[in-house]
Symmetry: none
Subunit: 328 residues, 2 copies
DNA sequence: GTACGTTCACCCCGTTCA
DNA sequence: TGAACGGGGTGAACGTAC
């Protein structure tokens, strides 16, 4: 029981053993590296087959395109890949600490090497970043939303839920939080296109949510999109799957468009629902949706619909169903 | 009921459970650590969004900048963070006591660990360094005269106001004031007008979906919806400015003396002001949560709407029906 | 009992090298 | 490409002075 949990984590991309979240999805080390290396390259990969490669530990290296698509589909987020600046900053910090440490220990240590590096990278980066710096750049795609700290951000998130949320049940009570399931919930953040001029209604908002991705039994791996909802869980699961599909669609759409915003949005939506639903759960097992939950659901639907032209009928019907949960 | 009171303490920064005051504000353990680690670093953090992140247990890791700002805004005081010297002194004292105790108890006892520490200062890593090096000049650091124990001083003062000022405030106004629930009131400081306000108005806002639930007296995290703290406060700000002038004068008087006393004074003054303002605000209802949630929800909806032009009528009606949240 | 600092396990990102 | 590793940030638990 104790260490079992570790073994339960499975890479959402290839099914290999996973240690935890990477770029916002549970993945193995190799997929992590793969994503970091390839997610930002602008070049499109080509599938040698027909874009439907099943990714496994064995096949994962055969088709970069499908592997990358899979990565994105399970929610891996490009924005969490450090920008060149971030990396430089990080290296610098490490250098500093190292130097400092060394200095304290014994100040005789060689310092020459260090500063050499600190002089650093200035040179190369150039173009990428330039865009980032300008305040209003609408582009932002490649880089990250913000150079500053995306990474930590995410990390934190994941960390959080796990720990604080379920850890002490006590807080759960008054804490909105999710879960309670057992272990790895996760968060998501989304941000809308706050591209410059949309200011009118201050439309841009970032929502964070926690989605609890189930862990323990079953579904954890169940990420594989589209596939089956084997689980018992009833309606909630179903709903979630639906949203997930929608999300996937969006992401697929995004494929062309490098901007991750939409995908993030979708994630958020998905998570929102989940968060609510988990909240509801905590109170009672009853499968009733409270108004908040219901509202959320509707909202999700709206959002998704707007996002992607083709809306699923299934979903609609589903909604109809869910809505009947005692409407206020 | 008896121990309930303990549970009532809520972190003024993120809303998590708090045990008591830390650096002059009621905070959770994590915010305490966060503040200690980051308040003195010279480097400015950067908000990935637009400096309006709502800080909750979930989102607190997203944005260091807004978290730190929040810390300061609720009155957490950098001066209470021990300086490196203080720490060294403290360690020394501990060593001494330990040694003495050990000697008394039985001098054969394990010494291994001890000397390890005595080697001490090197005490490798971790958090030490972070703060040390900052050149920060302006206050305290090198100076010294007093740094020896500013902290205590501060504490005392706070204690005082506490008493006189808000005593019963219990939870209070939206946002800034955190609570104090029943026993220990606390001080507040007002945040500085965010230096470069220029950026903030950009339309983007960060919201947390989950909202903070909080059952009892929520208050904790202010929600961003409409009444945004920073912007609103015109009159308030003005007042503060005035007090600030006064404070400055005082400081000028103290001038030569680098000691943080003046800051303390300042704190007290501000606090008073805040106490008033919070009173005025005090919002009525207890069942806050829903409202907050609702607001959140609406916000989301609005955001989504704005996002995507084509909105489905069906859905609209649906939403209108089910969730009466009046969408604006 | 309160409020500091310290420690340590943990999470996840980057780097390195075979 | 991927295993192994280095490392920083976080937060719970703990030690200690007062
Ligand atoms: Zn994998
Ligand atoms: Zn393929
Ligand atoms: Zn907190
Ligand atoms: Zn922020």
């Amino acid at each position: 029981m104790t260490k079992v949990k570790v073994d339960l984590k499975v890479c959402g991309v290839c099914g290999d053993k996973a240690l935890g979240y990477n770029f916002n999805a549970v993945t193995c080390e190799s997929c992590k590296a793969f994503f970091r290396r390839n997610a930002l390259v602008q070049k499109e990969f080509k599938c040698p087959f027909n874009n439907q490669c099943d990714i496994t530990t064995v096949t994962r290296r055969f088709c970069q395109k499908c592997r990358l698509d899979k990565c994105l589909s399970i929610g891996m987020c490009k924005d969490l890949i450090m920008s060149e600046q971030d990396k430089v900053a990080k290296r610098q910090k490490i250098e500093e600490n190292r130097a400092r440490k060394r200095g304290i220990g014994s100040f005789k240590s060689g310092f020459k090497k260090i500063k050499k590096e600190s002089v650093e990278a200035d040179s190369q980066e150039s173009e990428y970043f330039s865009s980032i710096y300008n305040t209003d750049s609408d582009s932002r795609d490649t880089g990250s939303i913000d150079q500053g700290y995306q990474p930590n951000l995410m990390r934190v998130i994941n960390y959080v839920d796990t720990e604080s949320m379920l850890k002490d049940k006590t807080c759960v009570s008054n804490e909105r939080l999710v879960s309670s399931s057992d272990d790895v919930p996760m968060i998501k953040t989304i941000l809308n296109p706050c591209s410059k001029e949309g200011s009118q209604d201050s439309s841009c908002t970032l929502n964070t949510l926690i989605g609890n991705s189930e862990s323990n039994c079953n579904s954890s791996t169940g990420f594989s999109n589209s596939s089956e909802p084997q689980s018992t869980t009833t309606s909630r699961t179903a709903t979630i799957d639906v949203t997930r599909d929608v999300v996937n669609d969006v992401q697929r759409i995004n494929a062309v468009d490098p901007s991750p915003i939409e995908s993030i949005l979708c994630e958020a939506i998905k998570l929102e629902y989940e968060a609510f639903s988990s909240m509801a759960h905590s109170h009672s097992n009853s499968r009733e949706l409270n108004d908040a939950e219901r509202a959320k659901l509707n909202e999700l639907i709206v959002a998704n619909k707007a996002l992607l032209p083709p809306l699923d009928d299934e979903l609609n019907s589903l909604i109809g169903e869910d809505c009947k949960f005692k409407v206020l």
